[in-house]
Symmetry: C2
Subunit: 229 residues, 2 copies
Amino acid sequence: MEEKLPAFESVFSIDCLIFGFEAGELKILLIERNDEPFKDWYALPGYIVKQDESLDDAADRILYELTGLRDLQMKQFHTFGEVNRHPQGRVITVGYYALIRITGQKELRPISQYARKAIWHSVNNLPKLAFDHTEIFNNGFSKIRRRLNHQPLAFDLLPEKFTLTQLQVLYEAILNKKLDKRNFRKKMLSYGFLKELVEKQKGVSYRAAKLYKFDKRKYAKIFQNELTA
Amino acid sequence: MEEKLPAFESVFSIDCLIFGFEAGELKILLIERNDEPFKDWYALPGYIVKQDESLDDAADRILYELTGLRDLQMKQFHTFGEVNRHPQGRVITVGYYALIRITGQKELRPISQYARKAIWHSVNNLPKLAFDHTEIFNNGFSKIRRRLNHQPLAFDLLPEKFTLTQLQVLYEAILNKKLDKRNFRKKMLSYGFLKELVEKQKGVSYRAAKLYKFDKRKYAKIFQNELTA
DNA sequence: CCAAAAGTGTTTTTTATACACCCATGA
DNA sequence: TCATGGGTGTATAAAAAACACTTTTGG
């Protein structure tokens, strides 16, 4: 066992699961660590909570410092508190997740020296991760998968305007199974929170698909009971 | 703001939501605090996690010390980390819940001096609770309510042998709405994890109802997919 | 024989599933 | 004109909801 840093005697930390969607694949945001322990390993973006900030605030700040991403509306999913999960001392970590659009232009650059870089990695074939981050990932991913059927998580992953096929491909990526096209469209449209636009897809060499927007206000109206999630 | 105790500079704690069911009412286990802050107030059973114990272990120990209850299989539901939730310093607390049988004979007696006594209190008309415990209660209760339809939580609240009416009354208490008798029975029996006993209810002045047992093994078999909860 | 709760089926509505072809477009 | 994905409907099965009377028992 390595020497314990005083700062590490007993601390809270946050680890973030940030999901994105690109080229039909579900991705997760990882950082390459620049510090011991686990220097050079991939890890979830995460760091220590300060004395004077709430967990939610800490999650926002930490994600920003490690990836440059802001204003994500992350949610907590589980807290990990095994005694030896961190080799330098007692660290209890709260897992947060968010699902976001990968906007090609926005480059990810860590502010903190603690991460060398931040990269998107397919959720399939994840590399070995530092600490117990693989467990944290599995725990969070399975929760999101279960929540997908009750909450409009998927819409955060798509561009503002999207086709029904894009939406279906995304669902299939998250649930890891094929869905029936007609039934999927029927069901999605029946919810009533998809707004059909006049605009159509552009630049494709086949019949252009209709574009849709997710209407948050309608969703909130329809599901106000379940909103207490 | 009161003086900060050194021990409280930055600690993890556990707070427990223990649900019981008695006389057709859903109850929650509260302690009467014997220490400042919030001396004499009602609070959820909760205390500080030790350096060398996992969160799950801490939850077991703390509940035992405050109420005398053991071996409950509590599960975590949320972590509360607002900066000023504890007047003496930074305390981040992990909420755990369990649902248990109230066995009349087993008296609740706190081991620790920190709780004067432990009592069952109806979930309706809860008194004011210490710290942010009302918020913790609301958060946990609404999660349990939602989980009720997917997990066999309710059976932990009933005696080993129970009637279908008892089960229904319990569901109604948790969900806070009336259910249709025939549909309820049909659905419960269709799951296939209720074992009908030869034995019948005794000592009632009306037609005695059949008794049932919950068959955990069958449940596990049937729902092995969803078990990764 | 009465009060109290146990027990029981059918119909209707809603929701999920299975399944295959024509259409529009750009290259 | 062809390749590519866009778009559409119907029939069947399964699940949920609505609904009221007879039976058993102890007092």
